[in-house]
């Protein structure tokens, strides 16, 4: 049963991943990529990491839905109504991809995998998290805050309207002068 599920998900993941480069419509390519990523989420669940697998499904669905909008916005031919190709240097890329795939597949088949020692832990997700960043948790939290602060700072620096535009030269305006009125009584 597990082997059958693995085969179906793996084949679907590879095929839909390859179709990303065959489709000439941005929407189709995006959702083909989403299909591939959902299959990967299923494979992670199959590995016994149910939480991680379901989170992959959750994050990737939202992410690809938003990405579809941006892709459509920036591509010259979003709907695939005109002939267009997603790939450049087609032959070279195909050769490199095939060689890399063969190399990795050979590695999987030829490497001497160790046998399992001991029993599987009760909560593999927890164990994986601990072994990935157990002692580095404080570093990760600090890094997360730093990244978030960077995002906020970048947006503040990039926006053209500052507080003096919104609230007047002496910041005493009773109502902020915003181009779009908001929902909290402004």
């Amino acid at each position: 049963m597990d082997v059958a599920t693995f085969c179906v998900l793996a084949v679907l993941a590879v095929v839909s991943g390859a179709m990303v480069f065959r489709f000439d419509s941005m929407a189709r390519a995006t959702f083909s990529l989403l299909t591939s990523l959902l299959c990967v989420g299923g494979l992670v669940v199959l590995l016994g990491l149910a939480y991680l697998g379901i989170v992959i499904v959750l994050m990737m669905t939202i992410e690809m839905a938003i990405m579809a909008v941006f892709m459509v916005m920036y591509m010259m031919n979003p709907a695939g109504l005109m002939p267009m190709t997603m790939t450049h240097n087609k032959k070279g890329a195909a050769v490199v991809c095939c060689l890399l795939f063969l190399l990795l597949a050979a590695g999987i088949l030829l490497a001497p995998w160790p046998a399992r020692r001991g029993k599987a832990p009760a909560d593999p997700t927890m164990e994986l998290g601990m072994s990935l960043m157990g002692p580095q948790m404080l570093t990760m939290m600090t890094l997360g805050m730093a990244l978030f602060a960077t995002i906020v700072a970048t947006v503040v620096l990039a926006t053209r309207r500052g507080r003096y535009d919104r609230l007047g030269d002496d910041l005493r305006a009773r109502h902020a002068d915003d181009p779009v009125r908001g929902g909290v009584g402004r």
């Binding site: 419509s25 929407a27 189709r28 959702f31 989403l34 149910a50 939480y51 379901i54 989170v55 499904v57 959750l58 669905t61 939202i62 690809m64 839905a65 938003i66 579809a68 909008v69 459509v72 709907a79 695939g80 109504l81 779009v180 009125r181 908001g182 929902g183 909290v184």
Partner: protein, 314 residues
């Protein structure tokens, strides 16, 4: 801990959801007719109106389907079909009383992941027909999704935090004494708001609004339309039903058996949501967006903080 339901429950679940959705749609049709005529009418008239959704489904199924020019048929089909599938998959972790089809250890995350599929579904259904109005509907749903998803996630995380488990069965067990709705009112309110938004219902029905001729659904016809609009009803039912195990004690209650309490509470929430749509006008999403970021998200975080402190002191 919730028990595992027998295997046939897998086949009963979609039928049950469908029946509840049809009854809810019938109730809505009666209210709509009542609002049009200024009175509810005799029980016979009401009964005739309650069958309207069912008749509409049959009419759509035998109707000649329309096709737009240069439409992306596969994508539109996938979008229309994905909506009911996502709703049914999300319902897999819903306990009826104390039994669910599958009480996954990560049930709450599973529910959230499945309802996220609705994002993709509505955008696809809007994009597929190559028509402006439906495309606007699809884009509106994404904008709306961004505004409601964060408070929504925080609200359901708060319930999981209160029970110290992501398993829906454990969340129900934790409410044997006091409902979560009592000591997490903010999370409960935010959940109800975002439950409506998820099914683009009530004040959040802009993606399928009248101003864009039905939005994402405007070009769908025939079986596609039945699947899409039926899927939306299913989503509403599932989202409303999930508030029962999360915040309203699930099957806990005196005298009656567990399943009866679940049904009663779900019916109450659904009736409230259907009634609320008739009371509140459609919200413009840019307005709700600011409300969601400036008020609801901090409120949800504060609520989670309160719950976390209570749980740590336990």
């Amino acid at each position: 801990m919730a028990e595992r339901a027998p295997l046939w429950a897998i086949f009963v679940l979609p039928a049950l959801l469908l029946a509840v959705a049809l009854v809810t749609a019938g109730f809505d049709a009666v209210l709509a007719a009542g609002a049009r005529n200024g009175r509810l009418g005799s029980p016979r008239e009401a009964a005739a109106r309650a069958t309207e959704p069912g008749r509409e489904v049959l009419r759509q199924l035998v109707q000649q389907p329309r096709r737009t020019r240069a439409s992306d048929v596969p994508l539109a089909r996938v979008g229309a079909a994905l909506l009911p599938v996502a709703a049914v998959l999300a319902a897999v972790v819903l306990p009826l009383g104390f039994r669910s089809v599958s009480d996954l250890p990560e049930g709450i995350v599973w529910f959230n992941a499945m309802e996220a599929l609705a994002w993709a579904a509505v955008w696809l259904a809007g994009w597929g027909p190559n028509s402006t109005l439906s495309l606007i509907g699809g884009y509106r749903f994404l904008a709306q999704g961004l505004a409601y998803e964060l408070p929504h996630m925080l609200a359901i995380t708060t319930a999981a935090l209160g029970a110290e488990s992501l398993r829906v069965g454990d969340v129900v067990d934790a409410q044997a004494g006091v409902w979560f709705a009592v000591w997490m009112p903010a999370a409960f309110g935010i959940y109800l708001l975002s439950a409506m938004a998820m099914a683009f219902w009530g004040p959040f029905d802009q993606p399928a609004g009248h101003d864009v001729a039905g939005g994402a659904a405007s070009e769908l016809s025939g079986a596609d339309r039945v699947l899409f609009l039926g899927g939306r009803w299913l989503l509403l039912v599932v989202a409303a039903a999930f508030s029962v195990p999360l915040f309203m004690g699930g099957g806990h209650g005196p005298l009656l058996p567990g399943w009866a309490w679940t049904v009663l509470k779900t019916a109450a929430v659904l009736a409230f949501l259907v009634w609320a749509r008739r009371r509140v006008p459609t919200l413009r999403m840019d307005r709700y967006l600011e409300l969601a970021w400036v008020v609801l998200t901090p409120l949800a975080i504060a609520q989670a903080l309160v719950v976390a402190v209570v749980v740590l002191n336990r």
